[in-house]
């Protein structure tokens, strides 16, 4: 027993080193798996409040670009307005919907909230974006985030009361179900950590007709992202002879380098959809069990 104490006393610094290494590595690997770590909520509040102050200054350097983006978005929305179109039927009268209360609330599926980016990076392999809205403002995990001109940015992975962390598309763990607008063929958008301007679209087989400049949109078959939001445009493509699939380079629609204002989009039917999926799986399991061999 005495020897043990003597050993501990003699090698105390080394043992402390091993213990601290163990704590650090445990944090790292548990975070990589569950995206959660000790004191992360408190830490996010602290870093968030500091980032917010720094961001107030940083804002002035991006105002011009941001104005342009918002103006462009407004322009595209103005073009969608009803009065822009002539109605051939002379009986039809163009009317503005004057009902103030949205009677369709029950069926609303996507809810948009505005948020402001307080910190973001593009140089790391795993890039995160911090927003100035958190669980107290209704932000939850797995909500989609798009930039002010409609380009997909990422997904919320962590919230503290007043701030939230977004897993950017520029992250090794990011995988967004996507489609090619022209053909509707589905694939997955990932990032190879090489260049923050380009993403990779995987899983499009080589018989699909792909051209440079083709639009890549979010897939309609996902619970997190609203359908048909712009991810980017095809910048280059080549056929991988080994697999028979394209490797498609996609130029991002959102400019990650100076991202400012964003929308956080909630799928109000997400719980219902997930529940339905679980029920279906359960039923399929039952059926498989009861099937006569």
């Amino acid at each position: 027993m005495r020897n043990i104490f003597a050993f501990i006393r003699r090698h105390f610094v080394f043992l402390a080193f091993v213990a601290l290494q163990f704590v650090a590595l445990w944090m790292l690997f548990s975070y990589n798996r569950y995206h959660n770590a000790a004191f992360l909520g408190v830490a996010t509040e602290v870093t968030g409040s500091i980032n917010k102050q720094v961001d107030k200054v940083d804002d002035y350097f991006h105002l011009l670009e941001e104005n342009r983006r918002v103006h462009r978005m407004n322009d595209s929305l103005l073009n969608l307005l009803r009065p822009n179109f002539n109605v051939p039927d002379t009986n039809a009268v163009v009317r503005t919907d004057s009902v103030q209360v949205d009677s369709l609330t029950r069926y609303r599926r996507w809810l948009y909230r505005d948020a402001k980016v307080v910190y973001h990076t593009v140089n790391a392999e795993n890039n995160y974006i911090q927003l100035n809205r958190g669980s107290a403002q209704g932000i939850q995990n797995d909500m989609a985030v798009i930039s002010s001109d409609g380009g997909v940015v990422g997904i919320v992975i962590n919230t503290s009361p007043n701030f939230s962390q977004v897993l950017s598309l520029l992250h090794t763990k990011s995988a967004v179900p996507a489609i090619l607008k022209k053909t509707g063929s589905a694939g997955t958008v990932r990032w190879d950590t090489k260049d923050p301007r380009f993403l990779n679209l995987e899983g499009i087989s080589k018989d699909v007709d792909v051209k440079r400049g083709d639009t890549v949109l979010t897939s309609p078959n996902t619970y997190n992202y609203p359908p048909n939001f712009l991810i980017g445009r095809v910048a280059a493509f080549a056929v991988d002879k080994a697999t028979g699939f394209y490797t498609i380079k996609v130029q991002t629609a959102a400019n990650f380098a100076n991202i400012q204002q964003v929308f956080v989009i909630e799928n109000l039917q997400r719980t219902e959809q997930l529940q339905l999926e679980q029920e279906t799986e359960k039923q399929m399991d039952q059926m498989n069990k009861n099937r006569p061999r």
Binding site: V13, Q21, A24, M27
Partner: protein, 177 residues
């Protein structure tokens, strides 16, 4: 200014420079990842004992990790260089000078040669370990090698620049007073 206050200011400064300047610079190339914050650990006074060094390293890494959302990554690397630092200093500083005449490692106190060796070894160690941990999660071996080499080179460039731009005025300690 006492050592504690001075070092707290330094830590805040190094972390802000790392988080708000070096991490935020526009993307130049995927192999260009500038790191400077660990110079804080290289600058800690000689008088700090080994356990204190370890804990300071742990805290430094953790603060940066919470900013960059990579809990544990920089912490592990910082704890490693905090552990190795006394051995390197022991090797590089003549043994007769048991009472160090200078307060903390600096090119002026140690001489440019030994100081650069000291900085290169710890920088290389920090980046190798950091890149190794990243490589365990994804990426290729070649990436790991190139990124370790390039980020060490860039860090050394930054350290040299810092040392030349901000020479620390240092009292020569004598035992006469």
């Amino acid at each position: 200014m006492s050592d504690l206050v001075k070092n707290i200011f330094r830590l805040a400064l190094f972390i802000s420079v790392q988080v708000f300047v070096l991490n935020e610079i526009p993307h130049l190339h995927r192999y260009v990842v500038p790191y400077l914050y660990f110079l804080f650990l290289l600058w800690l006074p000689f008088s700090l004992n080994r356990l204190g060094l370890l804990l300071t390293g742990f805290a430094t890494g953790l603060v940066l990790d919470y900013f960059t959302m990579s809990p544990g990554l920089h912490t592990a690397a910082c704890v490693l260089i905090a552990y190795v630092r006394p051995f390197i200093i022991f090797l590089l500083i003549p043994k007769e000078a048991a009472e160090f005449t200078y307060h903390e490692p600096s090119p002026r106190g140690m001489g440019w040669g030994p100081y650069l060796v000291y900085a290169v070894i710890l920088t290389l160690l920090h980046h190798t370990y950091l890149r190794l941990l990243v490589w365990l999660q994804f990426g290729s071996f070649l990436d790991f090698l190139i990124k370790t080499a390039t980020s060490t080179a860039i860090s050394m460039l930054l350290i040299l620049t810092t040392e030349l731009l901000f020479p620390r005025r240092m009292k020569y300690r004598t035992n006469t007073a």
